[in-house]
């Protein structure tokens, strides 16, 4: 019990990793990459930083595996939700486009 509580990781190393990853994140948006590549890189970097905070600052690494699963569930739900929302959003966007086209078409001649 007491030994588990005093298992401290090297916090300064985690701090520097987080600081460096933040600098890389900011550098990435100025890179001459495609928007999609930048998006993927930023998501990966953000997840990496979040994992560092959860694993070492929140000591998730030293907790039971089940607690880790509890912590990861919200991320899975949110990711799923993005894909649930997209079809609906695209349908609305398409409808708006059709409406706009219909509204501008008779005004042309």
């Amino acid at each position: 019990m007491a030994t588990a509580e005093h298992k401290h990781p090297n916090y300064m190393a985690i701090f520097w990793s987080l600081a460096i990853l933040t600098v890389i994140e900011i550098a990435v948006i100025y890179m001459p990459f495609a928007r999609f590549t930048i998006g993927v890189l930023l998501c990966a970097l953000a997840l990496g930083k979040a994992a560092l905070v959860a694993m070492y600052f929140m000591h998730l690494r030293f907790e039971t595996r089940t607690l880790g699963m509890v912590a990861v569930t919200p991320l899975a739900i949110a990711t799923l939700l993005v894909f649930l929302l997209l079809p609906d959003g695209f349908a609305v966007a398409k409808k708006t486009e059709i409406k706009k086209a219909a509204a501008t078409a008779p005004a042309k001649p």
Partner: protein, 205 residues
Amino acid sequence: MSQSASVHSAVEPAETPLTPESWGKLGMWMFLAGDAVGFGVLLASYGGMRATSADWPIPFDVLGINLTALMTFLLICSSVTMVKALEWLGKGDRAKCTMFLLFTALGGAVFVSLQAYEWAHLIHRGLHINGNPWGASLFGTSFFIITGFHGLHVTGGVVYLLSIVRYVANRPEATASYNAVEIVGLYWHFVDLVWIMVFTFMYLL
């Protein structure tokens, strides 16, 4: 002997299988998992709205990221002072623990102040909750709701930290407040973690 041991284990409240050393920690983890769903839903709907919008502004052109990058750094620093507070308490030094808890609270307070300054600046430039000069009106709505929700968490966290400073001060035994400090730490690091996500998805992406 064996009988007394068995009676003892039956009378003792069952320990939590997930966080054997404390129920409070499990309680905080459950709360944070729920809270994470809240933030997850907000950010996922932000992504959904943005992906399907034709005129979503490019956030880092409009919002500017210099100040926010500083705020991110500040929050990471306050996470470090938080772990230092717990580390010192583990070594039995309550004075150092209190000092680092106060540093953490100060970091949070400065963060919220900078956010207030940023909001005032953006509102002045025309970013309102119901519209903005750059494109989709939902951009302003989601910006204020998500950063506001996070800002409220930081504000609540500062109050929470200060109450734990008092808790530590009232207990002469360092071990008596170790759990409470560890739990406030969980909350504080979670707020930092959420900001990492918000900063990436709302400012950089």
